[in-house]
């Protein structure tokens, strides 16, 4: 049994001795005080676990001594049990009122005495545990806030490399929003125009903040190097997919503003409908999410398709995370899409919409506690974006890098069995700054040409097989079998680039060891295509200036001039 330290304060020495003996017999350590003053002094010095206090003592009586002890104990819980022969209810109540926790009436019942001592000891243990936990929580919380401040500072250094302060942008993002999962990024493109990205990570706190870091880094890094938004999104998706646990992802809306073409392209995955308002009209155009959020699909299944629409100077695009729509009033009711579109519809002019939304949401929530951030951004098309602040740097950037070069890469059967050369090819092409803006499309072209050469040429698979869903499955079954059995064959890739700094020409030639095909007949039948095979061909045609089949059809050469007429 644990020895408790028990202070017994009683001026009556016979009473004190008897009680002291009983308590000691029960295994406790006893300190005796013969009056109230002594009790307070001994308490201060020895800090007993529990105090048994006679009520009537000369000098300082039990009640007053208790008050003093309780005040010395501060937030520690020290149970004081009054010893009394008083038996009327009011006297007993008075004892408790003066700060006593309980009373014991004389003559004492030894069993009850020990039970009370034990019970109060448990209570003070619990109290101590609570205090320790409280202090620990407070300490952890202080530590966490400190960490968040530091993390916020680091994050700001990454995120504020951008141009959210640009005059064509208005936005609302709470100061610690990064820890609530909302991210807002904007960066000028080297050739004029701007990329904007609004992200909403699932969850709150650290997981969301961690995902935001590489996202901002990739966004700013790649945009500054001249990569197209599709390529940026592709990279962010891949990064998030690899670092976030399954079930965590980032809903996002990304915009590529191209003032030179008076157009914008958006990619939306998992965010609510956004609106486009014309400067000169009343019509509200709705943009809807067409993709899965970032970080869900693997790189090969990620869809980077953007929706392009004309956007004249002064036209406004409004983007938000679900925080605005899910903002709750004091009754727990959500603001909702309906209210939002009504606010937009009722605004006198497109330029009032931003303020009107903010006001409507503020009035609606009226200070109630919110679970989510109400991130809102307005992006206005502005001709001034065409002129690049940093044109000197970026023009120089574009004119740098390799201009006139060529390389040939021949892959033999043993290599083709397990190695995909497309990423390497892409990497080499991306050394040319002018090709970065079309990196995504180039990747698709190279991937398509290579898989044609390998699958139809080297492996001899017929693309016509892919015309039905069953054939599609059979095609891939056959592919796997033939790759396993492959012993000879090759694919030769030749890349040739010439450039003058701000424009250039890339020629890709692929030859394979296969039998080729009747490309003259293929040309005649073009347009009778199907949904399963040759998906890449229209895309190749939209980017390449020419496609030429040669020899027996086992060699193809495509030419791409950059900059493209249209960057989609």
């Amino acid at each position: 049994m644990t020895a408790y330290k028990v202070l017994i304060a009683d001026d009556n020495s016979v009473d004190r001795k008897v009680l002291s003996r009983v308590v000691r017999n029960q295994g406790n350590e006893v300190i005796e005080a013969t009056n109230g003053f002594e009790a307070v002094d001994i308490f201060t010095e020895h800090r007993p676990d529990i105090v048994l206090m006679d009520v009537m003592m000369p000098g300082l009586n039990g009640k007053e001594a208790t008050r003093q002890i309780k005040s010395i104990a501060e937030e520690d819980f020290v149970p004081v049990i009054f010893l009394t022969s008083l038996s009327d209810a009011q006297s007993l109540a008075d004892c408790l009122e003066s700060g006593g926790d309980d009373f014991l009436t004389k003559p004492y019942n030894h069993v009850v005495l020990q039970a009370k001592i034990d019970s109060y000891h448990r209570m003070s243990e619990m109290h101590r545990t609570l205090l320790n936990q409280r202090d620990e929580i407070a300490r952890v919380n202080r530590h966490m806030l400190q960490e968040q401040r530091v993390a916020k500072a680091v994050y700001d250094n990454v995120a504020h490399a951008g141009c959210l302060t640009s005059p064509n942008i208005r936005y609302e993002l709470s100061p610690l929003a990064v820890f609530n999962g909302d991210v807002l990024l904007a960066a000028r493109k080297p050739g004029g125009g701007m990329h904007v990205l609004l992200g909403d990570f699932t969850g709150h706190g650290l997981p969301a903040a961690i995902g935001a870091m590489p996202m901002a880094d990739i966004f700013y890094g790649m945009t500054a190097k001249g990569f197209g938004l599709r390529e940026v999104l592709r990279e962010i998706n891949q990064k998030l997919k690899s670092i976030l646990p399954v079930g965590f992802f980032c809903c996002a809306a990304a915009v590529d503003l191209a003032p030179d073409r008076q157009a914008a392209s958006v990619w939306m995955g998992g965010v609510p409908d956004c609106y486009l308002l014309r400067n000169d009209g009343e019509r509200i155009e709705t943009l809807s999410s067409r993709h899965l959020p970032l970080g869900v699909m693997s790189a090969d299944k990620f869809n980077d398709q953007m929706t392009e629409f004309p956007m004249a100077n002064g036209d406004r695009l409004f983007l938000w995370s679900d925080g605005i729509i899910e903002a709750r009033n004091s009754d727990g009711e959500m603001f909702g899409q309906e209210r939002l579109i009504n606010v937009v519809r009722d605004s006198a002019h497109a330029s009032d919409v931003y303020d009107d939304i903010q006001r409507a949401v503020d009035e609606f929530v009226d200070g109630s506690e919110q679970d989510d951030d109400t991130t809102l951004i307005e992006v206005v098309m502005d001709d001034a974006l065409r002129e690049d602040n940093e044109s000197g740097v970026t023009k120089a950037g574009i004119s740098q890098g390799p201009r006139d070069w060529s390389m040939e890469y021949r892959l033999e059967a043993s290599t083709l069995k397990s190695f995909n050369p497309v990423p390497l090819m892409n990497h080499i092409m991306m050394e040319v700054p002018g090709l970065r803006a079309i990196g995504g499309q180039l990747y698709t072209v190279v991937a398509e040409l290579f898989s044609n050469a390998f699958e139809h040429g080297v492996l001899g698979l017929q693309s016509s097989m892919k015309q039905s869903p069953d054939g599609f499955i059979e095609y891939y079954r056959q592919r796997e079998k033939r790759v396993a059995e492959l012993e000879e064959g090759f694919v030769r890739i030749n890349m040739h680039h010439t450039g003058v700094g701000e424009s250039g020409t890339l020629t890709l030639t692929l030859e394979d060891s296969g039998d080729g095909f009747d490309y003259k007949r293929h040309d005649r039948e073009e347009g009778s295509g199907n949904n399963y095979s040759g998906r890449g061909i229209p895309l190749i045609e939209s980017i390449c200036d020419s496609i030429e089949y040669r020899g027996k059809g086992n060699e193809v050469s495509v030419v791409i001039h950059w900059p493209l007429e249209q960057a989609t």
Binding site: V246, F249, G270, K301
Partner: protein
């Protein structure tokens, strides 16, 4: 909120019913529902009684998909009300799940 799981189709189909608000509070129960079942080839998530779902519910569906074999999984989400259907549509989950 409540999550109930039952087997159908000779024990090869697992029906998971979620009622009420489908949010983070359902996390453990939802996970237990599919992790405790073996030999299951097809999953049916019945959201007939679900009034609302948030992004963590979407995350839980992705976890189930991962558990069920990722791209080879067979998961149907059924009986969604309009609000729930809208949330699934915004996130384009019909690309990953059969939504009925």
């Amino acid at each position: 909120m409540s999550v109930r799981a039952s087997l159908a189709g000779n024990g090869q189909e697992l029906v998971i019913q979620v009622d009420g608000r489908f949010d983070f509070s359902a996390h453990q129960e939802f996970r237990d529902a599919y992790e405790s079942a073996s030999q299951v080839r097809k999953y049916i998530v019945d959201l007939g009684g679900a009034t609302y779902l948030d992004s963590s519910a979407l995350g839980m569906l992705l976890l189930l998909r991962d558990h069920a074999g990722g791209d080879h999984s067979e998961i149907s989400i059924t009986n969604c009300n309009d609000d729930v259907r809208k949330i699934l549509a915004i996130s384009n989950f019909e690309q990953l799940f059969t939504i009925q």
